[in-house]
């Protein structure tokens, strides 16, 4: 390993992009409610050259779907850069550590640590939730597995510790607002390397949040990727307004209601939002969550001027995974 490469915590491609100061683009792929890998693979193929990483959600909204671990492997095999999501709802610390070891052995290098949506939202409402550990404890566990080579119990990982680039979520639109920045700081202290925020519709509140983040110097300690969701209709926006922890200004809903071509307007709003976010100090990238509308991702990336995606530059390339490398270690 060269001296330059030694500065990196992992061999994640996303880490290289963010470390070299490029404005990063990640996007979400929702695994299917089936055992088919087709959609995940085709979405990965579509997104791999227009984004720097693809998030694979972990049974989001507590609906049973193809696992984020398996979906991450499909993305990897389709040429993408999987960002595996892991929630605390369904697994205890034994299962989580086991899956982290397994994921790393299959070539996954990015892990986003989340609480998870409550099971009462999903299609298994009589399930028992686990929450053996919470998202901040999970972040810290993954960091210690990587940096200290220990399991949560303190037992040493003697060979091949999993070296994950660690992501976490932040929600500037949840309450209490003043504590949101402090909780973000807790996540950074626990070991988060990058943050993907809840989707931003209310740019004014997001800017206020980022102001506090910058004031505390947190943007120097973590890479913040702002969440963007294109909406297909004013009805979709109205629904999102009712979701706890989301804020949608009425002016946006009115604008969408008036639009003749609503999908086009949804794309316009997303593009404008990204352009505005780039002007906000401390924002290091965007995370596009085009739920059930993955084909919007390349369009938005193009129109927002995010293409072509930057290459990993020479000085940061040293430890990057070789092109076409087998996923298995």
């Amino acid at each position: 390993m060269s001296p330059a490469a030694a500065a990196f915590k992992t061999d994640s491609k996303l880490e290289r992009i963010l470390s070299q100061g490029d404005f990063a683009v990640t996007a979400e792929i929702g695994p299917p409610k089936s055992a088919s890998s087709k959609g995940v693979r085709s979405n990965a193929a579509m997104m791999k050259d227009v984004t720097d990483g693809q998030n694979l959600t972990d049974n989001q909204t507590a609906i049973v779907r193809l696992s984020s671990l398996a979906a991450s492997v499909h993305v990897k095999e389709a040429g993408g850069e999987p960002i595996m999501q892991m929630v605390c709802r369904d697994r205890n610390r034994i299962a989580m550590q086991s899956d982290i070891l397994g994921a790393y052995s299959l070539g996954i290098r990015n892990l986003v640590c989340l609480s998870g949506d409550h099971q009462s939202f999903g299609n298994q409402q009589t399930a028992k939730n686990v929450y053996d550990i919470d998202s901040i404890q999970l972040i810290n566990m993954v960091r210690r597995m990587r940096d200290d080579h220990v399991l949560l119990s303190g037992e040493e990982i003697k060979v091949a510790p999993p070296k994950m680039y660690i992501g976490a979520a932040a929600n500037p639109f949840a309450d209490p607002f003043e504590f949101r920045v402090l909780r973000l700081e807790k996540k950074i202290n626990a070991g988060a390397d990058f943050i993907q925020t809840q989707c931003v519709f209310d740019l004014e509140r997001f800017a206020r949040f980022m102001e506090l983040v910058v004031k505390r110097g947190l943007d120097k300690r973590v890479h913040i990727l702002a969440g963007v969701t294109p909406a297909k209709s004013d009805k979709a926006l109205r629904y999102m307004k009712t979701v706890p922890g989301m804020m949608v200004p009425d002016s946006l809903i009115e604008r969408m209601a008036k639009a003749e071509n609503k999908e086009e307007e949804g794309l316009n709003i997303a593009v404008e939002t990204i352009k505005a976010m780039r002007q906000i100090p401390g924002v290091h990238g965007v995370h596009i969550m085009a739920i059930a509308w993955e084909s919007a991702v390349p369009v938005i990336a193009e129109r927002a001027g995010l293409l072509p995606r930057p290459a990993i530059r020479e000085e940061t390339a040293q430890a990057a995974p070789a092109e076409g490398k087998k996923t298995a270690d």
Binding site: C88, G116, D132, Q137, A169, D175, F179, L182
Partner: protein, 223 residues
């Protein structure tokens, strides 16, 4: 206290199918306070079953006896009904799950629960009780301003609040207060909000339900 509520009468009817002589046993402790299984509820239950069986023609000729014990969680009180328990073919316990088990361990007859045992909690207002303690075996209330996240947060998050906290309410439903909003508000009022910046480490669940019954032993009072 332990808070319980009665099972629907139709379910109790099914549980007692074929019984010829039933003893309903109440308890004067928690379930009396939460009005689920005290003497009053025992008598009401007896009347309800008699009426149901008389009008439906089910369990014809079945006899119902009643007793209410000081406590159903101590062997000496369980012993008090030894005579009548020997005369019946079924016992309906209106105590919490603890009482049902004490009766079942002591008497070789069909013992069924008349209540669903809900939680450790207290009164919120007249006729309303709420859960307060998760019985986790390792109290951290001193860290959270006296508000328990283990049981009052829907996700038992120890470093909250999660992203679903909205206007002081939990994402799960509008009626549930976000425990972490309450904790934040109280710690702010106490001038101790900086303590919430410390990362609370993973909980030692071996002190909670870990696959077997827990025991408390107080050596100095053992005989």
């Amino acid at each position: 206290m332990i808070v319980a509520e009665q099972k629907p009468i139709a379910e109790i009817d099914r549980l007692l199918e074929g019984a010829k002589k039933v003893l309903i046993v109440g308890c004067r402790e928690c379930v009396t306070v939460c009005q689920a299984g005290g003497e009053k509820e025992v008598n009401t239950m007896a009347s309800a079953l008699r009426l149901l069986w008389a009008t439906s023609g089910r369990n014809p000729g079945a006899e119902i006896l009643t007793e209410t014990l000081e406590r159903q969680c101590e062997p000496e009180y369980i012993e008090q009904i030894v005579k009548v328990a020997g005369e019946v073919d079924a016992i309906l316990s209106l105590a919490c799950g603890v009482g049902v088990q004490y009766l079942a361990e002591r008497y070789p007859v069909w013992v069924v629960p008349g209540l669903n045992t809900k939680f450790a909690g207290g009164a919120l207002e007249q006729g309303v009780w709420t859960e307060k303690c998760g019985l986790c075996g390792d109290c951290i209330l001193y860290k959270t301003g006296g508000i328990c996240p283990v049981i009052r947060c829907s996700k038992s998050i120890l470093n909250g609040p999660c992203g679903g906290s909205h206007n002081g309410k939990c994402e799960v439903n509008e009626e549930t207060d976000c425990a972490w909003q309450l904790i934040y508000d109280r710690m702010t009022k106490l001038g101790k909000v900086d303590r919430l910046l410390e990362i609370e480490p993973p909980k030692d669940w071996s002190k909670s339900r870990d696959g077997g019954p827990r025991k408390v032993v107080k050596e100095e009072i053992r005989i």
